[in-house]
């Protein structure tokens, strides 16, 4: 028996909300396809676990979230979060990304460095069913602002699982950084795209020989800095797609290099450092 893995969804939510290692994953009972109503219903439950009784303002224009209405690949759903600096001149301190129906609904929490100048973050998610994707932005005064978008991710043979496991294990830990020059298309600031090779494995599967659950194995924390100044940090889970990938704009300061450090749930630490490219300043 794997009773230790049968933890409740609530305990799991609490664990992920508090940033505790997800050593165990509860299994969602099979159910009919989710709808906007049922997704919202799940969120009503979730909200208190993640944010307590704090007030969350919805659709007030501080933050926006964009994803395809129908996911092409349930394992790779591109999502773009944008913050409107006009509505929050002091910027934001954190972004929490939630997929209501996923077994691990808190996909990631991003902490934004002071003066990092980040106004958008794009990443890719695993989405297990029809679901709202939500982003909750926190402003320096502690205010919470939410935006949501509904994604239909279900059907066909696409599944939110690793595609090429041999390759994923062979290349694990490789990092790649792309630097994009400032252009009107990206809001006039340069962008970074950090990519990490990692299966970001869900741990939802059983080993076919032993029948024990394979422990989850994923990137747990990520810190990105430039010139020793914190730009972005993330606490993530299994709802981030394999080969975690983050693209965001930022404000360059000085000429210091860009560094990234990621840790996974097996305690492995992955480091990368890249000189700052001339990004059209």
């Amino acid at each position: 028996m794997q009773t230790s893995f049968m933890c409740t969804r609530r305990a799991l939510l609490r664990a992920s909300a508090l940033g505790v290692t997800l050593a165990a994953i509860g299994i969602q009972p099979a159910q009919a396809q989710q709808t906007m109503e049922s997704s919202d219903h799940i969120w009503q439950d979730l909200k208190g676990v993640v944010f307590g009784d704090r007030t969350i303002r919805e659709a007030d224009g501080v933050v926006a979230i964009e994803a395809p209405g129908r996911a092409q690949d349930a394992a790779l759903v591109p999502v773009n979060i944008t913050v409107d600096p006009a509505r929050t001149p002091q910027g934001i301190t954190a972004l929490t990304l939630i997929i209501d129906v996923n077994p691990s609904p808190v996909a990631a929490t991003f902490k934004i460095g002071k003066d990092a100048g980040i106004t958008h973050i794009a990443t890719r998610l695993r989405v297990n069913d029809y679901s709202y994707l939500r982003v909750i932005a926190e402003t320096p005064d502690g205010g919470l602002h939410m935006a949501k978008t509904f994604v239909k991710a279900s059907g066909g043979c696409s599944a939110p699982a690793v595609k090429n496991m041999d390759e994923a294990l062979k290349t694990m830990g490789q990092m790649k950084l792309r630097q994009f020059a400032a252009s009107p298309a990206n809001g006039g600031e340069p962008e970074l795209q950090l990519m990490i090779r990692h299966p970001n494995n869900s741990g939802l599967q059983r080993d076919p020989l032993t029948q024990y659950f394979i422990p989850a194995h994923f990137i747990q924390t990520l810190d990105i800095s430039q010139g020793g100044r914190q730009l972005l940090s993330m606490e993530g889970g299994i709802s981030i797609s394999e080969d975690p990938n983050f693209r965001f704009d930022y404000k360059v300061k000085g000429t210091g290099e860009i560094k990234a450090q990621a840790t996974d749930t097996k305690g492995k630490v992955f480091n990368g450092a890249w000189p700052l490219e001339a990004t059209g300043m």
């Binding site: 092409q72 066909g156 699982a161 076919p208």
Partner: protein
């Protein structure tokens, strides 16, 4: 009540001999029963004769729906002197039982093997019916791992897509005999050559070649007419095109598309599509175009050449974008 005699006794000894190479584990497996005994109630599936001793079911080129009962994949049957091998079990137990009934009509020989060409539901959801008639299930070394990762999700999402009635009896049944690289299956006077491929359509693709008739059962490594689906590695698939083409067969059962198709001519369409898709994606990635944007345009020059293009091209572009970004 008198039990009906199972018409397998003479074959039994030969079967045990044939299975000896599988080792001790195989000896513990149930012996294949005559298919007729268990599938008599099911109306038989319409099979085409492709060659001497080779039968096939041609799936419809459609998305899986309750109306087509998920019967979209091509399925193969090879009859040897002693036994039968089936290539893929179909998209439901209903379809698998109808296939078993059709085999029983064509031959009294027992179904000794079910070969799974890869993990997708339209090819493996009938596995339980073949297990229940005692067939040994054979698959790629990576298939159990892939099924473990996807099985529960497939069972849930297909219940939504196909409806509970068609999902009755569907179980995720992994293979018990795994192909590391190559393997021969002896059906008596006829040896099938199995090959496990590196990641391409999926990371658990297996082909079956019957040299006797010159027929290749390609699974979803070959799509004709139906847009190919990338769920493993586009680059891997492109890299092994030449090696695939070198298989000395004269006809192919593609995973989806006309049965049979000419070999290796059947590869031309997907080869051209992959090259167009990869070229478009490489351009988009170099230009910094985000994934969601690139997925709307990449590969569109191929739209007129395929059925189900709109259903799958965006998905292929999304999947391949993530892979090509690492080049």
């Amino acid at each position: 009540m008198k039990r009906p005699a199972l018409p397998i006794d003479p074959a039994r000894r030969r079967l045990i001999g044939g299975l000896a190479w599988l080792g001790a584990q195989a000896a513990l497996m149930p012996l294949p029963f005559g298919a007729a005994a268990l599938a008599a109630a099911q109306p038989p599936l319409a099979l085409k004769t492709v060659a001497e001793g080779v039968l096939a079911f041609e799936g419809v080129v459609e998305l899986e729906t309750p109306r087509n009962e998920g019967a979209v994949a091509n399925l193969g049957v090879v009859v040897g002197d002693d036994a039968v091998a089936v290539i893929d079990s179909g998209g439901s137990v209903v379809q698998a039982k109808a296939l078993i009934a059709a085999i029983a009509k064509a031959t009294a020989k027992p179904v000794r093997y079910l070969v799974n060409t890869h993990m997708h539901p339209d090819h493996i959801f009938g596995n339980a019916a073949f297990r229940d008639i005692g067939a040994t299930i054979v698959g790629h070394r990576n298939l159990p791992r892939a099924l473990a990762a996807r099985g529960p999700y497939y069972l849930q999402s297909y219940r939504e897509q196909l409806g509970p009635a068609l999902m009755t009896g569907v179980e995720i049944v992994p293979p018990s005999v795994l192909v590391e690289d190559t393997m021969q299956l002896d059906l008596g006077g006829r040896k099938l050559e199995l090959k496990a491929w590196p990641a391409a359509h999926t990371d658990n693709d297996l082909t079956v070649h019957d040299p006797e008739s010159g027929t290749l059962f390609a699974g979803d490594l070959v799509f004709v007419k139906h847009l190919p689906i990338v769920d493993g590695s586009l680059l891997g698939w492109m890299r092994q095109m030449d090696q695939l083409a070198a298989i000395p067969a004269s006809r192919v059962l593609p995973g989806h598309g006309p049965v049979p198709s000419l070999w290796p001519e059947a590869l031309a369409g997907e080869r051209r599509y992959f090259e167009a898709l990869a070229a478009d994606l490489r351009k988009a990635i170099a230009a910094g175009t985000p994934m969601a944007e690139a997925a709307k345009t990449a590969g569109q020059s191929e739209a007129g050449n395929w059925e189900l293009f709109d259903a799958y091209n965006g998905r292929n572009a999304t999947t391949a974008y993530a892979e090509l970004e690492w080049e």
